[in-house]
């Protein structure tokens, strides 16, 4: 059974595009990244499977339950962290967490204490007094306190300082070790790189590609930078497998997807001063999807 199973899910807002024919499978126990620029449809997808908004067409299941008819059952087993956290201003942190816990028929006080401790969150403050980052921490605790089987996190790290981000990722890794499936959206690729087993790339409401992180990086792309003796404008132009090519003075830089052998042979034609062959950042791999 897949933790999340989405089939040709489409959501249109009036005439404007939301998401179009989104297909996704997230396996149980997996950490799955959902990557795309702002406005690509990440939050729309998440809100649709959580039944906040109704799909125009398509199917979606979470933990084997139908997202649109069995939403209440689903929500007993999942934790959700929205990208923008808004809570009741009149409540204190601990009141909100207890309110949140009271929806589950479970004793959560120990888990709350553990999480607040790990995130250095003081529970006696009023929510309206909290900074954005601290509100986000409250959001993290309320998403995790009932020990859900699946975590759906929408841009979870925005607003957290780097130290807290690391702590948060440690918490997530520990949860994942216990078997919790994690689905999170982001436009920051380095954090996805750190955490995820697989990623889906979404742009303009459509899924462009789903791949494992290892595949994406190891097998496909090399980042190659060459410094030439004489400026040549058309070096490696239209060479098969070359993408994101850019030229600055005597330097040419590109991503290469293919047999390295062919590049080496081609290099004989030029006089070369320097050459760098590196593992590209995911950002660079994705840039051409975005363009």
């Amino acid at each position: 059974m897949n933790a999340i199973e989405i089939k040709s899910l489409t959501k249109q807002y009036g005439t404007s595009r939301g998401i179009i024919d989104v297909d996704l499978q997230v396996q149980e126990g997996e950490v799955f990244g959902f990557i795309g620029p702002n406005g690509a449809g990440k939050s729309t997808t998440i809100r649709t499977v959580l039944n906040f908004i109704k799909p125009t067409k398509g199917e979606a299941q979470i933990l084997g339950l139908d997202c649109f008819t069995q939403s209440e059952k689903i929500k007993r087993q999942i934790g959700y962290l929205p990208s923008e956290v808004h809570y009741y201003d009149d409540m204190k942190v601990k009141e909100l967490l207890n309110y949140s816990a009271s929806f589950y028929k479970k004793e959560c006080s120990q888990k709350i204490a553990e999480l607040c401790d790990a995130l250095e969150l003081s529970t006696d403050k009023k929510l309206e007094e909290l900074s954005f980052g601290n509100k986000k921490k409250v959001g993290i605790v309320q998403a995790l306190l009932h020990e859900p089987k699946l975590l759906i996190l929408d841009e979870p790290t925005s607003g957290l300082d780097p130290l807290m981000q690391n702590k948060f990722f440690e918490i997530l890794k520990e949860e994942n070790k216990k078997g919790v499936t994690i689905f999170f959206s982001s436009h920051v690729l380095t954090e996805v790189q750190k955490m995820c087993h697989r990623v889906a790339i979404i742009k303009d409401g459509k899924i462009l590609n789903i791949e494992s992180i290892d595949n994406l990086r190891a097998n496909t792309y090399k980042k190659i930078k060459i410094e030439l003796k004489n400026p040549v404008d058309n070096v490696f132009e239209n060479f098969p497998g070359v993408v994101n090519r850019s030229v600055h003075d005597n330097c040419v830089e590109f991503l290469f997807n293919g047999q390295v052998d062919k590049i080496i042979k081609k290099l004989y034609e030029y006089s070369i001063i320097n050459i760098w062959i590196e593992e590209p950042q995911l950002e660079e791999i994705f840039m051409h999807y975005y363009e």
């Binding site: 807002y13 809100r47 959580l50 039944n51 906040f52 908004i53 109704k54 939403s71 209440e72 059952k73 929500k75 007993r76 999942i78 934790g79 959700y80 929205p82 923008e84 956290v85 808004h86 809570y87 009741y88 201003d89 009149d90 309110y99 949140s100 009271s102 929806f103 589950y104 309320q142």
Partner: protein, 267 residues
């Protein structure tokens, strides 16, 4: 139950504030009653007769006497209980659901294991509870005050009707507020809309009272459904009005359930 408790707690200050304002107004007015029916009684009646007849009709003084207990309660207390009570009800009704969307807390609530129906039901019961609390406290303490200041006999059954009728009207206004808030989520718009509707209904009821040509308007304003002077003279709330209020309330509530379940909720 979780949401119900939360709503009662969250609205406690507002309910208590409205209750205490109305209550202190009622008690102050009722304490003036003895001076009204004392030596001044005849000159009061003469003075009232000198008012324009439209004004007398608007206050229902052509049907009841201000120098009798029930007539006095109708003019000085009942009017404000219906107007302010109506405003309280429409504010409660229009804010209870939309507040979650307006303050963007609805995503939190919907991510918990509760159905939308459960949310609506809990919130409707919270509003009903608040209305019952408001009316019960005002009625009980007004009754005690009336017993203290009134020396003559009066019909207690009619007084009970004057205590109960505003609840029906308030429930109707709360239901209207609820359905409005499905379409107008922003508090800064739905709040004045609700208050405007209540005050508008009050003015319609005055027009319906003073002009015989506009008599048909009485079916369009809850204030006429529970008109105090009519209740005192007929010693009953007219069944047709009870039926209208029931139909309006049920229609609004059922429509709320249907639309809210289909609605895209985006914080």
């Amino acid at each position: 139950m979780v949401i119900y408790k939360r709503e009662i707690f969250r609205n406690r200050k507002s309910t208590m504030l409205w209750t205490s304002i109305l209550l202190s107004y009622n008690v102050c007015m009722l304490l003036l009653y003895p001076s009204m029916v004392g030596p001044l009684k005849d000159s009061m009646n003469v003075m009232i007769q000198s008012f324009p007849k439209e004004m007398i009709a608007a206050f229902g003084l052509d049907k009841v006497s201000m120098t009798e207990m029930l007539g006095f309660y109708n003019t000085y207390c009942y009017l404000l209980v219906t107007i302010l009570g109506g405003i309280f009800a429409v504010i409660q009704g229009s804010s209870i659901l939309s507040k979650e969307e307006d303050e963007k807390t609805i995503e939190f609530l919907l991510s918990k294991p509760v159905s939308r129906n459960n949310i609506i039901t809990s919130k409707i019961f919270a509003v009903l509870t608040n209305l019952v609390i408001l009316n019960t406290i005002i009625s009980v303490i007004s009754f005690v005050t009336i017993e203290l200041v009134n020396k003559e006999s009066y019909n207690r059954r009619v007084l009970l009707l004057l205590f109960i009728a505003p609840i029906f009207m308030q429930i109707t206004f709360a239901a209207i507020g609820l359905i409005i808030s499905i379409f107008i989520v922003k508090a800064r718009i739905n709040f004045p809309t609700g208050v405007g509707i209540v005050l508008g209904c009050y003015f319609i009821s005055i027009i319906a009272t003073i002009s015989s040509k506009a008599d048909f308007l009485k079916y369009f304003t809850p204030f006429k459904y529970v008109d105090g002077a009519d209740i005192i003279t007929k010693q009953a709330i007219e069944p047709i009005y009870l039926i209208i209020m029931a139909i309006v309330t049920l229609t609004c509530v059922i429509a709320t359930y249907i639309i809210y379940n289909k609605k895209d909720i985006v914080a």
